[in-house]
């Protein structure tokens, strides 16, 4: 599928936590088809930045524009997957996906197949291993038509084969006009991406 091309524009974005400036007057624009890796050491503010851009944290100063709209009005164009599991332990894998992504069973089973979890669609999420739980959360990438993906440490707990699958998915997403922001401490195996290094403020 091809997405309507969209720009993500960040202007003068600043954030302070406990009187510590995490980032100051950050400004960049991401065009359709670009990948941005946010890097930085532990506590640099990567998660804070991604959540601010996603519209989950209040913007302390500056602007985040999705197309021409402020992000608070365009959150449905964003797919955010963060540190937390984003799935409900007490529900089955399939029900979780149905709730968050809302397609029919066959479609969702295809998505589960892509992340190697097909046999598990009826298992409760809390009975999965760590990595299987992440896979199930990431299966949403296969069901979403949101142009902007914001992924906070998506590689955590994934084994080598799943990392490859995820890389391919991100690549095909931006190839069809999407935007992807992500963080990771591992050296990503993706090839073309820009890097934003945080943590140089103070």
């Amino acid at each position: 599928m091809n997405l309507k091309p969209l720009k993500l524009k960040i202007a003068r974005l600043s954030c302070e936590r406990d009187y510590r400036l995490l980032f100051d007057s950050l400004a960049f624009t991401l065009d359709a088809g670009s990948i941005l890796r946010v890097a930085g050491k532990n506590g640099a503010g990567k998660t804070t930045l991604l959540r601010t851009i996603a519209g989950l944290y209040e913007i302390q100063e500056g602007e985040v524009l999705v197309g021409d709209q402020p992000v608070s009005e365009a959150m449905h164009r964003i797919l955010y997957i963060g540190h937390r599991p984003q799935v409900t332990g007490d529900l089955s894998v399939l029900d979780n996906l149905k709730h968050l992504a809302g397609h029919d069973d066959t479609f969702l089973k295809c998505a589960l197949e892509s992340v190697g979890m097909l046999g598990y669609h009826d298992s409760l999420v809390k009975e999965l291993s760590q990595g299987q739980g992440r896979r199930c959360a990431l299966a949403r990438l296969w069901c979403s038509d949101a142009p902007i993906w914001i992924l906070d440490e998506p590689y955590t707990a994934l084994d080598v084969s799943m990392i490859k699958i995820l890389d391919n998915k991100i690549r095909s997403h931006v190839a069809s006009g999407g935007i992807c922001l992500f963080t990771t401490h591992q050296l990503p195996t993706l090839s073309e991406f820009q890097t934003l290094e945080l943590g140089c403020v103070d």
């Binding site: 009187y19 913007i59 302390q60 100063e61």
Partner: protein, 246 residues
């Protein structure tokens, strides 16, 4: 949008200094008024023919009871300002008023209870006004508890603001419903609503005291706001300057 301290004008420092001056004025004026009202009321007002001297607690009870309710109204205005105009100072006002409002409510309940013993023979009855006063105290407590349970002051302020505004809608309903409930099945044996017909020498000092307590409330609120302001801004340059000067 960044949360501001003030709408357009001023800064936390400006408020701190201006409030300091007003606080001084309020402090002295209220001290004077309360001294006059209380000495007059306790020492020179005539003895009540029914209650004897125990009625004199009115000079404490009525002003604090008035203030207990007025404080909630003030807090509601602050909450509105906070949520609509995002002025941080309104949050500080809310925080101060909640504690002071609770203190007045507790004083009203306490003085009423002390008064109840000689007049009604019991410290507490489930009378309509008493009950709604108790609920008001609970509401203040809920606000204090809610704020204490959230670490981030901005977040706590907004959450408390929501609760205050919901409470505003509900307070008149509480008052009305409780009054209605009580009159339904309790004989109107004890009524606070009927004003005792007092001679002027009794109610003038009362009036003076009421005014004095209002001003003392303003004094207390400003003082506590200044303290909270300094504490929240402790790492800013102007507070450090201030500390250096002292």
């Amino acid at each position: 949008m960044r949360w501001r301290w003030f709408h357009q004008w001023g800064s936390p420092r400006w408020f701190y200094e201006r409030a300091g001056r007003w606080q001084l004025v309020f402090g002295w004026v209220s001290l004077g008024l309360i001294a006059v009202g209380t000495i007059w009321g306790l020492g020179f007002a005539p003895v009540d023919y029914q209650q004897g001297n125990s009625y004199r607690i009115i000079y404490l009870h009525v002003p604090v009871a008035f203030l207990a309710q007025a404080m909630y109204a003030a807090m509601a205005v602050s909450a509105l300002v906070l949520l609509v105009w995002k002025m941080k100072i309104a949050d500080i006002a809310m925080q101060s008023i909640a504690v002071i409002g609770f203190t007045f409510t507790a004083l009203a309940l306490g003085s009423g209870a002390v008064w109840g013993k000689p007049t009604w023979g019991t410290y507490w009855v489930w009378d309509a006004r008493l009950t709604s006063m108790l609920i008001l105290a609970f509401l203040y407590l809920a606000l204090i508890g809610l704020r204490a349970s959230i670490r981030d002051p901005d977040q706590a302020g907004k959450v408390c603001g929501i609760l205050v505004l919901v409470g505003v809608v509900n307070l008149p309903i509480i008052k009305y419903s409780v009054e209605w409930w009580n009159t339904l099945h309790q004989p109107a044996s004890l009524k606070l609503t009927e004003k005792p017909t007092m001679p002027a020498s009794m109610w003038i000092p009362l009036l003076v005291n009421i005014l004095g307590y209002y001003i003392v409330a303003a004094y207390l609120v400003l003082g506590s706001m200044r303290a909270i302001l300094v504490e929240r801004e402790r790492r800013s340059s102007w507070v450090k300057e201030l500390v250096d000067r002292v």
